[in-house]
């Protein structure tokens, strides 16, 4: 009977209706879910990959190095499933299956592009390097000051309370330095530097008269316990998943909080294929998913949608949405959706040896390094390029993989290798990439993934500004090492393919004008005010600091705003 069908449909719709939907469970999605559920909203979190449970699924975490059949090396068979990761240093035996299957979910490289993806619950929050730095007004002002691209619609003061909020919850260690270009945060105790790092830092300070700073890295590892999580035990095996909950991940931090509210539903194996857009209300009604296991399509409905599928995937979802109104997708009315892709270019720097300190060593494995704060184009410094870079590195004693002078084989050789070798120090730069309209991603409708969905085509490269900066990144590393007494200095530039910095961003930028940006100052899509994009897609410029802390702060800020707007009946 027709009435019955209607009834079933209504019931089904009701069962599929939530206050908010969050697309993606990674670093930013986890934060959206936590904030929204804690504010009382019923939230559905949709994750395209498998479930991945805290502790239980960290299968390798209690193994010793020799328990791995290949002592850490990924096999050729495994690399066949991960041809992109095979081109990176992510090809490690314990975590190889944490990466997305590049064969099932391919993409097109119009220009070479390394896309490091993790499609499982928690996204890349399990694998990330945890370096966590605030941005400053030098960054939020940069586009405006340089007359480059468009201005950020926000400033540091808009984000600073949200940085506090995030740092207090996730736990970030660091030292207070009082540097305007790298604002201090709400820090747990700083980690130690090694003896050599301390001295090199002091020499740099002296040589550059206090204008350059080598500081201990700021990382999201717990140097003191916080509620429900044990402090870091210094094993430096974070990316396998930490059974102590010693670093921030969705699993250790945001998910438990969101789950405790009783307001969260997680649906794994749910590839969001589009946002359902309602022309009349000019808002999203919900989303459509493809179940990655049974290939069925389902719809879910909500008042708010948070898009946190990671920068490129969030753009992909938007490109596939509302195409009856805008052929290039929701948010494309500005002509900027998928454009202005940025990253941090790295993999160049210097290394060398340090004489002396033979009577010094360290205990424990520090999951963190030292950081040289940006100095280029700041405080009167002027270069032949825009923006700047920071360095990440460290000093340690060589281990068994070194060569031993005079000895090559036999008992003496072996005995020599059982002791630590000389001190070495190395660092790589992370440089800012400018937004260029022509650096873009588009849908490649000629190629389909395992589920028959169109894939992304990557068309982005470094331009002059970055190439000039790279030369400086190398020569300044050398100069700083020389001035601090480091010997046998080797410089290298391994080149950079966009994506390899794993800080891809900018594909749905924020701005002040719907004609030139996809999102407004609250991360709302100009063309659908109840859709919020708060991952790397939203970035208007890239700065040179690792970006995830900023994604988290932006997400918390937007989530708070969305609930207020909902209460006011504005969305």
């Amino acid at each position: 009977m027709p009435g019955d069908t209607l009834n079933i449909n209504n019931k089904a719709t009701a069962q599929h209706t939530y206050d908010a939907i969050v697309i993606g469970s990674g670093i930013s999605g986890g934060w959206a879910a936590k904030e929204l559920t804690e504010k009382g909203l019923k939230v559905l979190m949709l994750e395209r990959g498998r479930n991945f449970e805290h502790i239980k699924d960290y299968k390798s975490a209690s193994k010793d190095p020799w328990d791995f059949e290949h002592h850490g090396q990924a096999t050729q068979e495994e690399l066949k499933r991960h041809p992109i990761i095979a081109r990176t240093w992510g090809k490690s035996e314990p975590i190889i299956d944490y990466w997305a299957n590049d064969v099932d979910a391919p993409y097109t490289e119009i220009k070479p592009f390394k896309w490091w993806r993790s499609y499982q619950f928690g996204g890349r929050s399990i694998l990330w390097g945890r370096q966590s730095y605030r941005w400053s007004d030098f960054d939020f002002d940069a586009n405006k000051k340089d007359g480059w691209a468009i201005d950020w619609p926000i400033r540091y003061k808009d984000l600073s309370p949200w940085y506090d909020h995030v740092e207090k919850f996730i736990g970030v260690n660091g030292s207070r330095e009082n540097l305007p270009q790298l604002p201090d945060g709400h820090f747990l105790p700083a980690m130690d530097m090694t003896c050599v790092e301390k001295d090199v830092a002091a020499r740099i300070k002296e040589k550059y008269k206090g204008s350059r700073h080598m500081i201990i890295g700021r990382s999201a590892n717990l140097t003191a316990p916080i509620a429900g999580r044990t402090q870091c035990q210094f094993r430096n095996r974070c990316w396998e998943g930490c059974p102590f909950g010693g670093y921030f991940s969705t699993q250790s931090s945001t998910f438990p909080a969101a789950n405790a509210t009783g307001n969260l539903t997680v649906r794994p194996f749910s590839i969001v294929t589009k946002i359902i857009y309602d022309k009349d209300s000019k808002k999203a009604k919900g989303v459509e998913i493809l179940d990655a296991e049974n290939n069925q399509t389902y719809q879910y409905f909500s008042k708010i949608v948070f898009v946190n599928a990671s920068a490129l995937n969030s753009a992909w979802v938007l490109m596939n949405s509302a195409t009856d109104v805008w052929p290039d997708g929701l948010g494309s009315s500005s002509g900027e959706l998928g454009h202005n892709i940025m990253d941090h270019h790295y993999n160049c720097g210097a290394s060398g040896t340090v004489d002396g300190y033979e009577d010094k060593y360290y205990y424990g494995r520090r999951p963190n390094g030292v950081y040289v704060v940006r100095f280029a184009n700041l405080f009167g410094d002027k270069r032949d390029y825009l923006r700047g870079f920071g360095y990440q590195g460290g000093a340690s004693r060589e281990g068994w993989s070194r060569s031993v002078a005079e000895l090559s084989v036999g008992a003496g050789f072996k005995e020599a290798l059982t002791e630590p070798g000389q001190w070495t120090m190395g660092m790589t730069a992370f440089g800012e990439i400018l937004p260029h309209h022509e650096n873009k991603i588009t849908l490649d409708k000629t190629k389909k993934d395992k589920w028959g969905l169109p894939v992304l085509a990557m068309d982005a490269e470094l331009k002059d500004n970055e190439l000039k900066m790279r030369k400086d990144m190398v020569s300044e590393a050398k100069a700083m090492f020389e001035s601090s007494g480091i010997k046998n200095i080797n410089t290298w530039d391994g080149g950079h393919q966009i994506g390899d910095g794993i800080h891809e961003m900018g594909t749905a930028r924020m701005g002040r004008d719907p004609k030139t940006s996809v999102l407004n100052e609250h991360n709302q899509v100009w063309d659908a005010k109840n859709v919020f994009v708060t991952d790397g897609a939203c970035m208007t410029s890239a700065a040179c600091q690792n970006p995830s802390l900023t994604y988290m702060a932006l997400t918390a800020r937007a989530a708070n705003f969305s609930v207020e707007e909902l209460k006011k009946g504005n969305i």
Binding site: A86, S408, G421, G494
Partner: protein, 190 residues
């Protein structure tokens, strides 16, 4: 391993990178092929154990590479992780090493005395180093470079190597950046 370590090991091991890691930098291979030249017969495993033991012998403080079943380890890595071209070099290396042994001592490697084994590998190591220094980066590796790297890597990440030749602490619990070291103290295993 984090990004910094990965990079520093690449940077610091230039010319001496662990081959398995090195080859991956050259890009993906769409097909996994196992070289038909590979032969890990029990005799060859015993031979590789002996090569390993000569490179890292048993000493007063710790067992040698044989105790870490180094021949078996080489079989696993070469079969599962090596590209076909390095598999071939490795496989042919067994014959080449024996040929060098015959030229020098008129005996195959397994029949040599301990001192002869040592002296032969010292000579081959020198040959390998000179060769690696002058070869093009994409050029074929020397077989002994592969065998020696597998020996060092396999041994020092094995249980006896990590816990007896080196110091291994599974869960350090804390970090101290600057502590005294006295000559003779062992290096940390990881």
């Amino acid at each position: 391993m984090n990004r910094r370590e990965a990079l520093s090991s690449v940077a610091l091991l230039l010319g001496g990178t662990i081959i398995g890691a090195d080859i991956f930098l050259s890009g993906c291979k769409s097909d996994v092929k196992i070289s038909s030249a590979l032969d890990f017969s029990p005799e060859n495993i015993a031979f590789l154990d002996e090569v390993g033991e000569t490179i890292l012998p048993t000493t007063a403080g710790s067992p040698g590479a044989k105790a870490a079943q180094i021949g078996q380890f080489m079989k696993t890595i070469v079969t599962d992780c090596y590209e076909e071209k390095d598999q071939k070099i490795f496989a042919e290396g067994i014959g080449k090493l024996n040929a060098a042994s015959k030229t020098k001592y008129d005996k195959v490697f397994m029949e040599l005395g301990a001192d002869q084994k040592h002296d032969l590998l010292v000579a081959i190591d020198k040959e390998a180093k000179d060769y690696q220094k002058t070869k093009k980066p994409e050029g074929p590796n020397h077989y002994f470079t592969l065998m020696k790297q597998l020996t060092l890597w396999g041994y020092f990440t094995s249980k006896p190597g990590a816990t007896q030749a080196l110091r291994y602490v599974a869960v350090p619990g804390r970090y101290e950046g600057c502590i005294p070291y006295k000559k003779g103290d062992k290096a940390w295993a990881t």
